[in-house]
Symmetry: C2
Subunit: 504 residues, 2 copies
């Protein structure tokens, strides 16, 4: 623990068990470490993802043996795709106990390898500090990755070696050479380039006639008025291909070639035109910001003018409750510097379209498609940025994967407002089932995407875990409740009952 | 799906996504298959475990890509340790989509290998039926295992080959030779031998002066009055060693050499005396029942007398609410042939001691130590045995890993009563932390085992997912509520507020 703290790791999201008791006990001797208890491991891994995306440095997670790690893997998958730095600590049976096949014995490395860039099964207590420091350094390699340390219990209860200190991560580099692209080339920006100076560079490219897009799965995007907001590559392949149509050159900056989320029977997975040449200005582990700066200078682009949308206006309260009006209300009421965690799934596009008119915010989207990340990422973001309002925009289906997040929000008094978009369907699957050509849907199959029976009561669920909650069934109620939640500090939940979706 | 049905697989616990839509659509064409929707994948895998333990045949699970499978792994771990037959179906991106690194792309085999005896990544649509049938046969190999079929989406949307039919599993064998043990030898019975005829054989062994024990981690144990109830090997190594003290011979029947759950600094992991000779009458994949029958015959043991405990008497309602009085109340009120799913953790021993005086029941214990199995296993058991009352005895800490189970209980109208033993601690860790020698516990570390803040309200949580719930704070309330729940059909939850545990 002293190695972690000496290396700048100050938060540990944990759900410990017997093998981790010595680490837990150390919390009282190392007050610089903040232990955050989560009731389910997927909350730990998702929170570490949210923390790392905002703090740009690793949190630790502490999970119990193979099965505890297993419960964290889905959100670790998202973190891996987000390239978030995380130091994952996993307890192991004591070395002499390992030879017996006890109930909890499993192949922890096998679980860990699914998401980890590096795994070390600790081989001595003496090496604890040095090994942890090396793994922290690995986790911090730009832009970030998951490094896993498996710690046999006897090394925790033995005298350890010296404290380690992780060396500073080497700064990322880039190859300073202008790709051979022509006028009207397209750019896809990802990674760190969708924040700060990167958006200014993007604006200059756009002003010069280049077509600039945001990587759909970037880990963090700054949005809101007063800055250039490049359009994201959209979810479905047809419209995404239309976005990129006509491009002869596509320049990737901390982004990969654009592909659709899923494959479909008669649609392309690869989204750029077949004859479009793809140039990598900076790979996903390179310094895209530096590469962009050099390119902008070489191109001599100084003008960054762009059209800023009108500020959001609060919709009339007696208007209909639609995704557009909800989005407009959020956009109008969102305070400056809010952090938005998005897991709205099918409800997302209309709401996000409205948010371009909001005050400036950070946006943390889905990166890996594992469901159950919205609320945990919010937990981590709130701990990384205690002075900023966090708003989690969550589906009712997706909200049921890691609802235990609410308890940690209440326990830590986090300033998070969770809005549940309750349409009582796995609505995205209504759409996907038709796109994949699955036919013959009747009552049996419909039942597998219908979550209206029994009715989920998110107000009770939230109150049951200590987070005050209200329900909005009209736009007027939503505006009142969301406004109040923006003005107060502390966790709140609003269950937003949407009209039943039209099933076409 | 027709292959599954033709091979006797009639239930599929599912949480599907885009890649699985054709399988879902097939539910309307194959009415023999019952699709059971769960809101979280750990409920699917735990339910398949409970189903398989009771039905003695596999259910299917249907999960979505690597991350969906990841969320099911912890309860698959328990199922693996229980040797439960399960056919695990996992969707995969279409083969042409796989070459791109889409957000949800991951190494599904890597996730699956942590729990699966066999994994096949389907290579053509034509081979679908044949491959599924071979995997069902693998899952059914005695006593059972997890077989995983990874199905690329394009093979689901293409014309498939012929329906497969899994061949009957070969009956398990055993080596018919009497181990060389002396008078007063000990026996540890596990696997199927803790049910039916096996307990009668056990009674004959005990009547002849042999010391008979039950494998602590057996998947299913028949208990209650009127049958021999061999003591389970206890959890902590010291008392377990005392149980086995003095044995010169130990005979294992579908059981492995006894080891403790965890290792501790100054305690043995291996529980039998060092000079005790260990004989395997039947290995964990052999026919223990047949081997026992042959042995009993060879030994000429016909007498099976044993002392039956007095029937449980309902404790006086104005008595104190203790684990003993709660156990006595459950024992007195439990209807014949109930199925008990136990995840009480620290609250367990006093309650289980009382249950020896109950009417006959099946007991489904923790097998692999993954937390969050109690309620899901209850879901599966209730679907396997719709005419029997299922009682889930659950901790408040453990109850928060897969609470989504409650929604499926309500949706399917399952006859399950969940009793939450709410002591507001990870109480087992209070005990374990001291046993592992972790010292210096202060307020920071205490916080990591204290789940009282904020207060969990299981009544609201349960009602929020559609299961009627009540709270008991006195013995009288508990008796009234539990009695009423035993007399009614359908899902109920009782939050049993225990007095705060004494922290020594």
């Amino acid at each position: 623990m002293r190695t972690l703290v000496a290396s700048g790791v100050e938060v540990c999201f944990m759900n410990p068990g017997t093998s981790e008791m010595h680490f837990v006990a150390a919390l009282d001797r190392v007050p610089e470490m903040r232990g955050v208890l989560c009731l389910f491991e997927g909350v730990c891994s998702g929170a570490a993802d949210g923390y790392g995306r905002m703090a740009r440095k690793p949190a630790a997670t502490l999970l119990h043996l193979g099965p505890g790690l297993a419960n964290g893997l889905a959100n670790f998958h998202n973190a891996r795709k987000a390239r978030t730095p995380i130091i994952s600590l996993v307890g192991q049976h004591s070395t002499k106990h390992l030879e017996y096949d006890a109930p909890l014995t499993s192949d922890i490395e096998a679980f860990a390898q699914t998401v980890s860039a590096k795994i070390v099964h600790l081989e001595s207590a003496e090496a604890m500090g040095e090994t942890a420091a090396a793994l922290i350094a690995e986790a911090r390699r730009y832009p970030g990755r998951i490094a896993t340390l498996i710690i046999p219990a006897d090394f925790s209860w033995s005298e350890s070696g010296p404290i380690g200190v992780a060396p500073a991560a080497p700064p990322p580099g880039f190859v300073d050479s202008k790709p051979d692209f022509g006028a009207g080339a397209g750019f896809i920006l990802g990674g760190r380039t969708l924040t700060g100076k990167g958006l200014e560079f993007a604006a200059r490219l756009a002003a010069a006639g280049y077509r600039v897009f945001a990587d759909r799965n970037a880990s963090r995007v700054e949005g809101g008025r007063g800055r250039f907001q490049p359009p994201r590559i959209v979810y479905f392949p047809g419209p995404a291909q239309a976005q990129l149509a006509g491009l002869k050159d596509l320049v990737l900056v901390e982004a990969k070639p654009p592909v659709s989320f899923f494959g479909y029977p008669d649609e392309a997975s690869y989204l750029a035109p077949a004859d479009c040449r793809v140039h990598t200005l900076a790979g996903v582990e390179e310094d895209g910001m530096g590469a962009l700066a050099a390119l902008i200078e070489e191109l001599g682009l100084s003008e960054a003018s762009f059209e800023d949308p009108e500020p959001a206006a609060l919709p009339t309260a007696d208007g209909p409750l639609t995704l557009d009006s909800i989005g407009a209300a959020i956009a109008a009421l969102l305070p400056e510097k809010a952090i938005l965690c998005d897991e709205m799934v099918s409800s997302g596009p209309p709401v996000l379209a409205q948010l371009t008119r909001a005050a400036q915010f950070d946006y943390l989207p889905v990166t890996g498609g594992s469901i159950g990340q919205g609320m945990p990422v919010g937990v981590g973001a709130a701990i990384a940025c205690p002075d900023r309002k966090v708003v989690v925009l969550e589906g009712d289906g997706s909200g049921m994967y890691t609802p235990q997040s609410l308890w940690t929000m209440a326990r830590e008094g986090l300033d998070i407002v969770t809005v549940i978009f309750a349409n009582r369907r796995y609505r995205i699957l209504d759409i996907e089932m038709r796109r994949t050509g699955a036919s013959g849907f009747g009552s049996q199959s419909n039942d597998m995407v219908d979550i209206a029976r029994p009715d989920l009561d998110f107000v009770k669920l939230s109150e049951g875990m200590g987070v005050p909650a209200t329900r909005s069934t009209t736009l007027s109620e939503f505006i009142d409740q969301f406004r109040a939640a923006m003005l107060e500090k502390g966790p709140r939940l609003i269950e937003l009952r949407l009209p039943p979706p039209q099933i076409e």
